[in-house]
Amino acid sequence: MSPIPKLSKSPWVVHFNCNSCNGCDIEFLACLTPIYDLERFGILHVGNPKHADVLVVTGSVNHRNARVLRNVYDQMPDPRVVVAFGVCSSTGGIFADGYNVLGGIDKVIPVDVFVPGCPPRPEAMIDGIVQAAVILESRRTAAITSVSASQGCITRIPAPPPVAVESV
C-alpha cells in the first residue's frame, strides 16, 4: 500500500444541470443533507470546475448546451472523471426522441460511471461518486506511467472522441 493518500479520499464534485427536469438535482442535493452526508467520504460540493475532480451531470444533452457542457469539462484539471446521473444523462431518457436532443452526455464528453434511474436514489448516487473516485486514482497512476513511457510527454488516457455537434 502506498504511503501517499489516494485521490479517491478527497473527490470534489461539481454539478452541472444539463437540460434536466430538476428531479435528479433535487435528489443530488438530498445527498448533501445530514441524512445521507456526502462529506463523510471527503466529498465536497464545489461550484467551480477548476477545483473539481468529479463532474456530475444531470439531464440529456441538446444542441444548445453541448458546447457549455464541453466547456465545463475542459476547465477541469486532470485527473477527472464524469458521472452521469439519471436515465436522461445516460441515454436521453424520455427526451431521447426530441428533435433537439442529442441523447446521453456520452455524445459530448467521456463518461466513467452511469447511474440510471428516474431519478436515481441518493444511495445509488453516492455509490456512483465513490466508484468514480476510485477511477480517479487509477487514472492518475496510468497518466504517470504513460508520461514515463513517452519520456516526459504528457498523454491523457484515451477518451472517446467527441461527436461533432452542429451549431444552431
Binding site: P5, S10, P34, E39, N48, K50
Partner: protein, 289 residues
C-alpha cells in the same frame, strides 16, 4: 535580541521544526473543525485527516495556470505567511510581524485581482474591505501589548509573570472577532468560502487550481497555527492554561460558525469599526491613563 538576522542564524532556534510542524497542527485543527461542525449539524463528517487528503490530492492534480504572475502571488502568500509565523514564534518585533502578515494577505488579494474572473475580483475587493476592518484592531493589539509589556517584542509576553489576558481583556474579545474573520468563519466568510456557491463561487481563489490551490491551502494551515499561537500568547505564563484558552477559542469559533449566517461586507466593516474598535480603544486608553 532586537536584530532579526543573528537570531535566525542561531541554530538553537527550532526554525525547521516550526516550518514542518505548523501546517500539520493547522491541518489537524481544520480536520477537527470539519468533524465537529458535521456533528453539530447531525452529520457524521469527514475523517479528521481530511485536510491532509485534500492538500495531497490538490498537489497531485495537473496544474492549470491562467497567468504566470498568479503563481508568483500564491507562493508569495505562502512565503510571507511562513515568515510571519516565524517572527511570531521566535518573539520578534510585533510591528514587523503585522506588516509581513498583512503583506501575505495582500499577495492573495493581488493574486485574485490579476485574473479576469469577476468572481475573483469581487472576492478580492471583499478581502480588502475585511483587511480595512480588522487591521486597526491588530495595530491596537500591538500597541496594547507595548503598553502592557514595555516593548514591541513578541517574546515579552512569554517572560511576563501574569497572563496578558488580565491587562488586555477587551482587546482579547476584539481579537476573537479578527480570528473569526481570518479563519473564514460565518458570519465573516465573505471573501472566499466553501459555502458561498451561488454568490461568488469560491471568490478569491476561483482561478487557482491543482497544486497552486494547494499552496494557498497550505498557507491557510500556517495561518490557523499562527492565529492559535497568538491566542496562546494571552496566557503565556502558563502554557497549559494557554492551550486550554486556545481550545476554548477553537470551540467558540466552531459554534459561532454554525450559529450564524453569512452577512454582508459592509455590515462586517461597520461592526468592526464600531463594536470591536471601541472595545480595543477602551482597553488601550485604560492602559495609557
Amino acid at each position: 535580541m532586537t536584530s532579526l538576522i543573528p537570531d535566525l542564524l542561531n541554530p538553537s532556534f527550532p526554525i525547521l521544526a516550526i516550518i514542518l510542524l505548523a501546517p500539520l497542527f493547522g491541518a489537524l485543527i481544520a480536520g477537527l473543525d470539519r468533524r465537529i461542525t458535521a456533528r453539530m449539524q447531525g452529520r457524521i463528517g469527514p475523517p479528521i485527516l481530511q485536510p491532509f487528503y485534500d492538500v495531497i490530492k490538490l498537489l497531485r492534480k495537473d496544474p492549470i495556470v491562467v497567468n504566470r504572475i498568479q503563481v508568483v502571488y500564491a507562493f508569495l502568500h505562502l512565503a510571507f505567511m511562513v515568515l510571519a509565523l516565524l517572527l511570531l514564534v521566535l518573539g520578534q518585533d510585533s510591528l514587523m510581524f503585522l506588516f509581513i502578515f498583512a503583506f501575505s494577505t495582500l499577495s492573495l488579494v493581488l493574486g485574485g485581482m490579476c485574473v479576469r474572473s469577476p468572481y475573483s475580483r469581487i472576492g478580492s475587493q471583499r478581502e480588502i474591505i475585511l483587511m480595512v476592518a480588522y487591521e486597526p484592531i491588530l495595530i491596537l493589539l500591538m500597541i496594547g501589548m507595548y503598553l502592557a509589556n514595555g516593548n514591541f517584542l513578541l517574546a515579552s509576553p512569554l517572560s511576563a509573570n501574569h497572563p496578558m489576558l488580565q491587562t488586555l481583556p477587551l482587546l482579547f474579545i476584539a481579537l476573537l472577532v479578527v480570528i473569526a474573520i481570518k479563519l473564514q468563519k460565518s458570519p465573516f466568510d465573505i471573501a472566499t468560502s466553501h459555502h458561498a456557491h451561488q454568490e461568488i463561487i469560491k471568490g478569491l481563489t476561483i482561478e487557482y487550481s491543482g497544486p497552486y490551490l494547494a499552496i494557498i491551502e497550505i498557507a491557510h494551515l500556517y495561518e490557523i497555527a499562527l492565529l492559535f499561537y497568538l491566542v496562546m500568547l494571552f496566557w503565556a505564563s502558563n502554557l497549559i492554561l494557554g492551550g486550554l484558552l486556545a481550545l476554548a477559542v477553537f470551540f467558540l469559533m466552531t459554534v459561532v460558525d454554525n450559529a450564524f449566517a453569512r452577512l454582508t461586507t459592509i455590515w462586517t466593516f461597520r461592526f468592526m469599526w464600531t463594536g470591536a474598535l471601541v472595545l480595543a480603544l477602551t482597553n488601550v486608553l485604560w492602559l495609557y491613563l
